[in-house]
């Protein structure tokens, strides 16, 4: 087998296992609901078998595909109402899923394959399928006024469900609503879920937004026990219209009856969820995470209370409170850990995408490349993985295009014809490190200096060390015209990559040795959901500084602050630490009295290779915080990562150290320098 086949087999195995897992749970649901099973459950099982058949067929797993095909045929008849639900049928489904599971395992361990007897299962399936179909007469759809486009868009199964709903005497309604393109999926799912509690959403048809906006409208075909007025109450933003011709009476609930049913009279009204496993929208996890965050705040308050003087006097009570607080703490940590874990996915998820691109780009560039992928099990927050794909792709394209030389060039330099790009992911404390390493021509710091000087990013005569030179390639406007090519010249430079990484609270650096290659290193926090922060006070306001950016904090006096080249600095051991006054950065009045003995606190922070001392009036405390977005308008404010609630509904800004250094370093320095003149 080639590596490609291996990859395909691995992907199939994991998707098939996931499918069969869901299928087993759905079967339990099916069995529990018995003959009154909701059509959605049957259809879900049908779709799962159908997907499995498609996958197995494509990849040539004959046994799985054949068994799935026979099952699909049986389930299709079942959902179309052509065969009845019996105990035999349910037993058969269980046995089949068991066999499918074995067959999937056997893909990787062929010795197990012999234990599965497909012929016996197939015979049982045929026996059930050969039962006489139930005959129904008449064309119930003639009772409806349904337009052609909608009718044509129904699958055969949907049409069958519509017929069944009409036969059962349900109200058949159009529920039409316009949504914003940005979040229609979420809102539509909510609407569908609400409607499903009192009926069946038969079809979901996207239609043009005729209101003139840029949104998208959906027309749901809905069969329900409720009439249009009652449905309009469930879906207040939707237009609800009835499809039944006036002459066709609805059989179940009399017209003019109560707007809402008094009690569930039909299985369709069951509030049970369809499945025990659902794909969780990350927004919902965010919400749970926020609750955890709020609980943590409560816990902090409880802790403060246990230490307070009044309570100390009542020693027993204090003792009890301490115990509760400690227990609460332990449970909270557990909860927090498990919620974070559910958000985690392996980095390997994006590896296959990346390797495809590498193969393709290498072919286009006529270069021979070996892509080495390491650490694919390293886990990272799902949301961050999504956001990481583009920046990573960009760096890899750059490495392919500009880094790795042509075979001739490589041979001349005494290297192998084939270039190597290594992607290595690993965890380091609470961070995940991603290295993109190539063995190409490397980046010449001299060339960077020349380009930077030409573009006015540094002074003509300015000397900068190599480290600073490498940093310059992430500056907006650095990318040169000669660099733009089909592959990496997509109008975005490394400055955008850096911005993307910073938005994820990460850092990016590069080290390179001319002739030997380059390493781009991305460091990201494992999750953005909850972080430890240092709460500080400056200019009368409190701020939160993420502890991941803090190296140490110390107390100094005004007389310790020196000015070197118009920049305030402080000598920290043998290192000259540049200082940044937080109050200045946010334009707050500095109410400090000024004298050589004025006390300050310096929070030594680091973002990537840069270190800066943030000068504040006081260190307040350390605490866990949940970063919340501060809305569109302030989103791009430099130096601010978001806001958080600390203590009793007090909102403080969370500092983004990386962007604070980038944006305020210069300005705060100049303002200070003027004040000293």
């Amino acid at each position: 087998m080639t590596r490609e086949d291996d990859r395909a087999r691995e992907e199939f195995t994991s998707e098939a296992e996931e499918l069969l897992d869901t299928l087993s749970r759905d079967l339990v649901e099916f069995e529990a609901q018995g003959t009154g099973v909701r059509p959605e459950v049957v259809n879900k099982i049908f779709r799962e078998i159908h997907s499995l058949k498609g996958l197995a067929g494509m990849l040539g797993f004959v046994d799985i595909s054949e068994l799935a095909h026979n099952l699909e045929d049986m389930l299709d008849r079942l959902r179309m109402g052509k065969i009845a639900i019996t105990k035999d049928l349910i037993d058969l489904l269980y046995d089949s899923v068991d066999s499918l599971n074995r067959l999937v395992i056997a893909i990787n361990d062929p010795s197990l394959g012999a234990l599965v007897d497909i012929t016996a299962l197939t015979r049982r399936i045929h026996h059930i399928v050969s039962a006489q179909p139930e005959q129904k007469s008449g064309d119930p759809l003639s009772e409806l006024t349904i337009d052609d486009q909608t009718k044509k868009s129904l699958t055969e199964y949907e049409e069958h469900r519509l017929v069944e709903n009409v036969r059962a005497g349900k109200y058949i309604l159009f529920v039409e609503q316009t949504f914003d393109l940005a979040d229609f999926d979420e809102k539509l799912r909510t609407l569908t879920t609400n409607l499903s509690e009192a009926g069946e959403v038969i079809s979901t048809l996207p239609v043009l937004d005729t209101s003139g906006g840029n949104g998208i409208a959906f027309r749901l075909l809905y069969g329900s026990m409720l009439n249009d007025a009652a449905v309009a109450a469930i879906a207040p933003d939707a237009r609800v219209s009835s499809l039944r011709k006036a002459t066709s009476p609805v059989k179940t609930i009399a017209e003019g009856g109560p707007a809402m049913p008094e009690a569930p009279v039909d299985d369709d009204l069951s509030l049970r969820s369809l499945s025990q496993t659902v794909r969780v929208d990350i927004a919902k996890l965010d919400h749970v995470m926020n609750i955890v965050g709020e609980l943590i705040i409560e816990r902090t308050q409880l802790e403060t209370l246990t230490r307070s003087h009044e309570v100390q006097q009542v020693r027993m009570l204090s003792h009890e409170l301490t115990k509760i607080s400690r227990n609460l703490d332990r449970k909270l940590n557990e909860l927090q850990k498990s919620v974070i874990e559910t958000r985690m996915v392996p980095v390997g998820q994006i590896y296959s995408k990346l390797s495809r691109t590498v193969r393709k780009v290498a072919r286009e560039l006529n270069k021979e490349i070996e892509l080495v992928l390491r650490g694919e099990d390293t886990e990272l927050d799902k949301m961050m993985i999504e956001e990481l794909t583009d920046p990573l792709m960009h760096i890899i394209r750059n490495a392919l295009d500009h880094g790795v030389e042509s075979a001739d060039e490589r041979r001349a330099a005494g290297k192998t014809d084939r270039g190597h790009i290594t992607l290595n992911a690993y965890q380091q404390g609470n961070s995940v490190v991603l290295d993109v390493i190539d063995d190409g021509r490397g980046i010449d710091p001299e060339k960077i200096r020349a380009v930077a000087a030409k573009r006015g990013l540094i002074g003509e005569k300015e000397t900068i060390d190599d480290k600073r030179a490498f940093e310059l390639i992430f500056t907006p406007g650095f990318s040169t015209a000669s660099q733009v090519s089909e592959i990496s010249g997509r109008g975005v430079g490394l400055d955008v990559v850096k911005k993307n990484i910073q938005e994820l609270k990460g850092t990016i650096d590069v080290v390179s040795a001319p002739g030997q290659g380059s390493t781009f290193r991305i460091i990201l926090p494992i999750t953005l959901a909850i972080i430890q922060a240092l709460i500080v006070r400056a200019g009368g306001e409190e701020f939160a500084i993420p502890l991941t950016s803090v190296e140490e904090s110390l107390r100094i006096y005004s007389r310790d602050i020196r000015t070197v080249e118009r920049r305030e600095v402080f000598t920290l051991r043998d290192f000259t630490l540049p200082l940044l006054r937080l109050a200045d950065a946010f334009g707050l009045s500095d109410d400090h009295e000024h004298g050589p003995d004025t006390k300050w606190f310096v929070v030594v922070t680091r973002a990537g290779e840069k270190t800066v001392g943030i000068l504040v009036d006081a260190l307040v405390r350390q605490q866990e915080i949940v970063i919340k977005s501060i809305g569109e308008r302030l989103k791009t404010t430099p130096g601010v990562a978001g806001a958080t609630e600390v203590g009793e509904s007090e909102i403080v800004l969370v500092i983004d150290v990386g962007s604070l250094i980038d944006h305020f370093g210069g300005r705060a320095r100049e303002a200070r320098a003027l004040a000293h003149v």
């Binding site: 395909a8 997907s51 498609g54 067929g57 486009q149 949907e158 539509l188 048809l205 996207p206 043009l208």
Partner: protein, 125 residues
């Protein structure tokens, strides 16, 4: 050229992308993947697609509903569509054609068939 592949199975998406990339080496082709009809609707305004390949059986909205929307849309109606489905049902195939889908391919398929149909869709040799 840019094509949109709408398919809810991740391994099937990866397979389709590999086959298409392998069979269309002679010209520049960019594949954008959508894991559902919703994702497809969200991504459509951001690209100019030369062709759309879609599965039928998907959660949320199915392939036929997507085709119906596209073929009734003033901007998207000119994008050629290939429905790739495991549906053996002639009925669904007939419906796809009635809604205006240009090509229909039944899984499992020969890779050559996919590439031929795609070429026809893109009007390239």
């Amino acid at each position: 050229m840019k094509i949109l592949v709408v398919e809810d199975s991740s391994s099937m998406r990866a397979y389709l992308a590999t086959v298409i990339e392998g069979g269309t080496e002679s010209y520049e082709l960019e594949i954008v993947e959508a894991a559902s009809g919703f994702e497809a609707l969200k991504t459509l305004p951001h690209h100019k697609f030369d062709a759309i390949l879609t599965d039928i059986n998907m959660p949320d909205i199915n392939g036929l509903e997507l085709v119906s929307f596209l073929k009734n849309h003033p901007v998207y109606k000119s994008i050629p569509i290939m429905v790739i489905s495991t549906e053996s049902s002639d009925e669904d195939r007939r419906r796809a054609a009635a809604l205006g889908a240009e090509e229909y391919l039944v899984k499992p398929f020969q890779t050559g068939d996919l590439i031929d149909k795609l070429r026809r869709l893109l009007k390239v040799a």
